[in-house]
Point group: C3
Chain length 326, copies 3
């Protein structure tokens, strides 16, 4: 959002103002802000469970402006808004249906939609689109993924989940497994983990989808220890968190052979579970195919469905903070 107009001012007068106007990228959060957001998210678990449900966002409207469909992310945000008593305007195929198809700029579209709503949640296919939208808008904008760029609420919910499950973020050992070249999730997570002390990261991935140098350099510059390994069993035995990801077929084009080879390379199954620490957890941004076998689900260390649910709490917290303040 560009500025705090007179409307914003009275909308956010309920609590102490949230120091951020928009949620655009994972890096914008410092440790203290993250801790404070996590506390609000903790409260949201009760808000969501108890009846009667909260009405703190009654009368507020969230516009979900999705230029590419992502049902899961959209439903998560919309549930978060409704659990707090707010209303939702939805468009899940803005690229095809909206004025964008006629050649309207993103900035013009935002200036229209901000007239209909109090906060915009935007998914876009172009990196940097969320920043442009926030620059054009007078109301808060949350980035729900902009192409290969950022997906900050996913990164937040990942770190929040680690903190809830392991009880700390300093001093943890994390194994990032699978498609490390194309997954923006693991890239954002690496950025956020670098804010904590004594974190050790293992990269375990097929050769064709290795973690790129920019992240490795960034981690080194922040004194985060990292190591590449081809031995998932060894890594799993040392980690607090095994973060598995899906090999993204759509990135392989016609090289189905390479895709198939990569896809079968590192599977989290009961063998992997058997060497993991008792209090370690397995995370996954979902959807999963067969990179985590179904028989892992029953193990208490399989935390990926709890992780998805935590996304609801994080999004409830962000909506509350951006609209009402602390």
């Amino acid at each position: 959002c560009r500025a705090v107009g007179s409307q914003r001012a009275h909308l956010s007068s309920i609590g102490k103002r949230f120091q951020l106007d928009d949620v655009i990228e994972a890096q914008q959060f410092d440790r203290d802000t993250l801790s404070a957001i996590f506390e609000v998210a903790d409260q949201m678990e009760n808000v969501e469970k108890n009846l009667p449900r909260s009405q703190i966002l009654k009368g507020y409207i969230m516009a979900t402006l999705f230029y590419e469909p992502s049902t899961r992310t959209r439903l998560s945000f919309e549930s978060a808004m409704k659990r707090l008593g707010g209303e939702v305007l939805t468009t899940e195929n803005a690229r095809e249906f909206s004025s964008a198809a006629k050649g309207e700029t993103l900035e013009d579209s935002i200036r229209i939609v901000e007239g209909y709503s109090d906060i915009i949640v935007m998914r876009h296919f172009e990196s940097g689109a969320a920043r442009r939208a926030a620059a054009a808008a007078k109301i808060p904008v949350i980035n729900a993924g902009d192409g290969p760029g950022q997906h900050p609420t996913q990164a937040l919910l990942d770190v929040y989940t680690i903190n809830r499950e392991i009880g700390k973020l300093d001093g943890i050992t994390v194994g990032l497994v699978g498609d490390l070249a194309n997954g923006r999730t693991v890239r954002s997570l690496a950025y956020l983990l670098a804010k904590y002390d004594n974190v050790k990261i293992y990269f375990v991935s097929p050769d064709v989808v290795k973690m790129k140098d920019d992240i490795k350099d960034y981690l080194s510059s922040k004194n985060v220890k990292w190591e590449e390994s081809a031995d998932l069993m060894d890594v799993a035995s040392q980690c607090d968190v095994v973060y598995q990801t899906r090999i993204q077929r759509e990135r392989f084009g016609e090289r189905i052979d390479l895709y198939k080879e990569a896809r079968g390379r590192y599977i989290v199954n009961r063998n992997v579970l058997s060497v993991m620490k008792e209090n370690a957890v397995i995370l996954h941004p979902l959807p999963r195919l067969d990179e985590i076998t179904l028989d892992v689900d029953e193990d208490p260390r399989a935390a990926y469905f709890r992780q998805a649910k935590n996304g609801l709490y994080i999004r409830m917290a962000l909506l509350k903070l951006l609209l009402l303040g602390w």
Copy 2:
């Protein structure tokens, strides 16, 4: 739903618990349960008409998870939820947009969506999908049609309509007309009618879309009298209910000639009306093409639009019962 978790328990503590956890198929209802549901549906007519509208489901969220589009069924369920003060999360093209397109299992999808909602209404293209979803879910699941399988709320509203219009279900004579091979509606209706005493059923259909033997055998096993007839006028003169259906073009493939012949074979028009009993009614699951002529609409025995409206009351009743109990 798999089990009554702690969350379910307090959500459903308002009234006496509904004996069913999910609505998956028409057969799961016995006569007494049907009667009790119909009483609740009767009350819903007042709830829907009076202002201020009911808020008994305020704070509850229904997810409409449609893997194939069905605007009418979706709007009916969503209206039912909103008439009771509840909220709705919608996805009307889950097959294409959601994680299902990336290869996620239905069970995984359900485990995510149940984290965002209190009840799931699902439409799917595969027979048996609703049962699988209910087995995976901790919250109630309502089957809004699963491929050639079941569409139980349609069957319920059909029987409810007959009871409202005719005043009874025992001892009635029903003519099922049109596409009896492909219409899941008439199949489900036949199952439910078999629960009542002294019901007589006539099948009137073109040869290519005759009622299949499984239903005939089932009716015989339940001592329901049934008869095939090619004489719509004769049947109409004897029936309490003439249940007309659309010939489904999409089932004929390239045999347009067969489709056209079947489509014109049995039309409900003013001639048919002229032989019908004074208190008989014409039903149709809609949409209709020309199998009921427009000049029939004005006759008070044309009950198909009232039937559609009854679908709203039945769905309001089921949502109330599954979420709050009796």
Copy 3:
């Protein structure tokens, strides 16, 4: 809507009944009704800005039945309904998804949807569809655009914006610029302006998309002075309102050369601004491409984003009037 049924009667008993049952075309409004609607729209600006937000339409359901997608119009109506506390049922692709695809008549579809809602907002691809829907429906219908026909709420918001910005409608000079052959917006606006006294209209358009004779004849019959001009600078210097429109590429088929020539012909830029009166305004129905340059946006006379926002107030006013009365 066909008649005031018993349900309508009690729904609209709150205030004095609105004299219109439906909103189908711009011509149905006389000067006095327009003035009165504009007063209600003025009040809606406060309703929309203040917290807690209005709940006057709580318990009412609006069905947005869009047979062709129009995200902007849809979101504007849905925001209007929600800002007044009402609920919304949405279908944004009714042509493809609904029973219409199976051959159901519009009238049958309307009879179903009216059972689920209190008011229908319909967008359709066929001229005259809104009138047919209103004739079939017992509840109010608002035309949100029916093909090349009418888009009355756009016309209302245009006139409302002129009145707010200029302070009057009698005696104004308006320049209609751009695609005057295909834009239903400028056609409806011309109809409405003819209700006011001493209005002067200039038509400025490329030869291939000139204003058609029916409108010119209509204006002449109503004693509205009009003139064609090829000199945008001269017209701009005399006008109170410069109403720019987009050249609609989709109307040119394969004649891209003609489209490109027409598109570049009349651009509103800072040169045009420099000759405009101090209190004049620039309007545009949006979306715009490059027919208004971006550097115009900062000028206070650039009123097109305020115009879009006014659409919200007009639609809030109409929803209030149709459902509750004055």
